[in-house]
């Protein structure tokens, strides 16, 4: 109970604090410390849920169950490691005169605000508040995308704002329709939007309304997941904003948006008793994997490249949840974790690489391994991990997803395999040239923060070799619930 309030209160208070003092010399440290305390609180919440089971708090407004508890821990963890990376990254940007004091205040304050909205979206039991938190996450990050005020970054932020705003409005309409159906069963008032209550009566909800509601919810939240053809904002926003923001957008926002889709899918499946929601998700998932894989080889900007790779992986996860069943949902959760850790590690390495070479253009980033072996190796290992090479965790989850697809959806397997092959060829070739080759890199005014890169990659490696029993138990419990 109290842990939930601390987990939510810390980033909110941090946002207010850093709005005032976010440009001081110690602001980066303060940002990391707040994130660290949030992580501790999230871990103690997790420990409590492991020992005592699911919990409901504050008149059922908040809840923690096997599905969201690991996402809370993951979100707080990536939030902390990104803040460690951001401390050094932003210091370099400041030393190069790319940021004024006011923008640094905005950055630090909104970083914490973004963490607050992510944790609120995960912890709230009210699907209406879930929508409010997702919209607030856009509001918190949109000014960060345009932080450098270049023409390209303003365009990217405007696109992000309009497309995600219109998209998320569809999700609001879906939520209204859901409420319309729920009100019949649960009566008017606050409780008809509480997920646990909806879940209890899910087989009594009106099927026609819910199937229409799910289409709107999938399109709405799917825009934020970056599903093709609603993905247009994603590569621009990732490429033009500061790299720590690219890392949290890819590592956290996409996950949480998909979480919102899956939460609603559970209700719709219960009401419909058909596979409509799953089929829709498989369709969007496959389309995203294929289109993203084809776009990968055309990319010239390293951050755009990995943004398209995020679309591809969110497509794989959406496909896995769409297939449903214990193994596929398990694999989907594992892939969510592994992708989030790997992709943020890659963005940390890419951020330093771009700072060292002064460019994000792939053709101009060459020979990282000669000047800074750690950045080069970080990028290389991260790239190999995201491409699904064993023994990293991404391999384990992709393997599970592919084998399940062979059994239950054989028609989809060749498409998935071909897309993964195309993605491998595209990314690996570019990666090799950036890491090896003749060097163009220079020294940074501050030593790069590579500790988070290797912690993340170590964890992904661990997930590939050995999943700790309590984590596997969580995944299984959550997979049972998702169905």
């Amino acid at each position: 109970m109290i842990e939930i309030l601390i987990v939510l209160g810390l980033p909110l208070a941090g946002s207010v604090l850093l709005a005032g003092w976010g440009s001081r010399a110690w602001a980066g440290e303060a940002n990391s410390s707040i994130s660290f305390l949030t992580l501790l609180a999230a871990l103690s919440l997790t420990a409590r849920v492991i020992s005592l089971g699911p919990l409901l708090a504050l008149h059922d407004l908040f809840f923690v169950d096997p599905f969201n508890v690991f996402l809370v821990a993951l979100t707080a963890f990536v939030g902390f490691t990104t803040s460690v990376f951001s401390r050094v990254y932003m210091r370099v940007e400041q030393a190069r005169g790319r940021l004024s004091a006011a923008r640094l205040r905005l950055y630090h304050s909104m970083y914490q605000m973004f963490m607050f909205t992510m944790l609120l979206a995960l912890l709230t039991n009210n699907v209406g508040i879930l929508w409010v938190a997702m919209e607030a996450a856009t509001l918190a990050t949109v000014l960060l995308v345009s932080l450098y005020r270049s023409a390209a970054s303003i365009e990217a932020a405007w696109k992000y704002f309009i497309l995600c705003g219109v998209g998320i409005a569809q999700a609001l309409f879906g939520t209204i329709l859901l409420y319309l159906a729920a009100e019949k069963v649960l009566g008017a008032g606050g409780t008809a939007l509480l997920w646990t209550h909806l879940h209890a009566v899910r087989d009594q909800l009106e099927p026609t309304v819910l199937s229409l509601a799910f289409v709107f919810l999938l399109v709405g939240y799917g825009t934020k997941v970056g599903l093709v053809p609603l993905h247009n904002w994603l590569p621009d926003a990732h490429a033009e904003g500061p790299t720590p923001i690219s890392a949290v957008l890819s590592g956290l926002l996409l996950n949480v948006a998909l979480y919102a889709v899956v939460r609603n899918k559970v209700l719709v499946d219960g009401a419909l008793g058909t596979h409509l929601a799953g089929n829709l998700m498989m369709g969007f998932g496959l389309l995203s994997v294929t289109v993203a894989a084809l776009f990968l080889s055309r990319q010239q900007d390293v951050k755009r490249l990995f943004a398209y790779s995020s679309i591809e992986h969110m497509g794989i996860i959406t496909f896995a949840f769409g297939m449903g069943g214990a193994v596929a949902s398990f694999a989907g959760l594992l892939h969510m974790t592994a992708h989030s850790l790997t992709k943020s590690a890659i963005f940390f390495a890419v951020g330093h690489a771009a700072q060292k070479t002064g460019t994000q253009i792939i053709d101009r980033i060459r020979g990282l391994i000669h000047t800074s072996p750690a950045v080069g190796w970080g990028l290389m290992l991260g790239g190999i991990a995201i491409l699904g090479v064993p023994p990293f965790g991404v391999f384990a989850s992709e393997f599970l997803i592919l084998t399940t697809a062979m059994r239950t959806q054989p028609w989809a397997t060749p498409i998935l395999l071909a897309a993964l092959g195309v993605a491998f060829a595209a990314i690996f070739g570019k990666l090799q040239a950036m890491v090896l080759g003749e060097t163009t890199a220079q020294r940074l005014p501050h030593p790069p923060a590579l500790f988070p890169v290797f912690v993340h990659l170590g964890l992904v490696l661990l997930l590939g070799l050995y999943i700790p029993p309590y984590l596997a138990e969580w995944y299984r419990a959550a997979a049972r619930m998702i169905g």
């Binding site: 209406g128 508040i129 329709l177 010239q300």
Partner: protein, 217 residues
């Protein structure tokens, strides 16, 4: 009685939505947006009286404060400071746009029909109109080339959704409605900041400047 009043409000809303699609002056667009908010708020009051749902009075008050006073005032200040108060947009082919709009209305009535029959509320006939005004706002966003009208389109889209919520379900729970109102308010502030950023960078509020980022492949 209240049924007819609600239908009247719904008809007014649709009329305003069409007026917004074809309005070329930014200032009048803001007045239309305020009028839309006013109709919305009156509609909520009528539903509140008819159904004796006390929380709807609060909801009507929030709508009045936010959409009739705060947002129009904010937009008004913005266009004054941006000096685009008297801007006239050249809209291509208003008759065609209107025809597309009429098609959208027919489409949304058809879409809403099965759901309207399920909604037991006194306002169920109006769900189609709510959907129509959402789609008309989208149409407006697509046809506009300037940043300010596009944002007004976005805000009126939210109005349409709000109308859907009151007509289909007697309004969302209070805590959700407050959250949505806060998001809309903060969103409008951020749009305001953007107008200045866009103008500073491109010397104009024309959004065709914002179509350069492609996959430069």
């Amino acid at each position: 009685m209240s049924n007819q009043l609600i239908n009247l409000m719904a008809a007014l809303l649709l009329l305003i939505a069409f007026a917004m699609v074809s309005q070329r002056r930014i200032l009048r667009l803001i007045y239309l947006f305020a009028a839309q908010g006013f109709v919305l708020s009156m509609n909520t009051v009528i539903v509140a009286v008819a159904t004796k749902q006390p929380h709807l009075y609060a909801s009507a008050l929030i709508t009045l404060g936010l959409k009739v006073i705060a947002l129009p005032w904010l937009l008004h200040r913005l266009i004054d400071r941006l000096n685009v108060r008297w801007d006239v947009e050249t809209l291509i082919n208003i008759p065609t746009t209107m025809l597309v709009g009429i098609l959208l209305v027919i489409l949304s009535f058809n879409l809403a029909l099965p759901i309207s029959q399920l909604a037991g509320t006194i306002t169920r006939g109006t769900l189609g109109i709510a959907m129509a005004s959402v789609l008309l706002s989208l149409l407006m966003m697509i046809t506009r080339r300037k940043a300010v009208p596009q944002v007004i389109g976005f805000l009126s889209l939210e109005n349409g959704l709000f109308f859907a919520a009151t007509s289909a379900t007697y309004g969302m729970p209070m805590v959700v409605e407050l959250g949505i109102a806060l998001d809309v308010l903060v969103g409008t502030f951020i749009f305001g900041i953007f107008f200045f950023q866009i103008r500073e960078t491109f010397d104009s509020l024309d959004i065709h400047h914002l179509e350069k980022l492609k996959d430069r492949g």
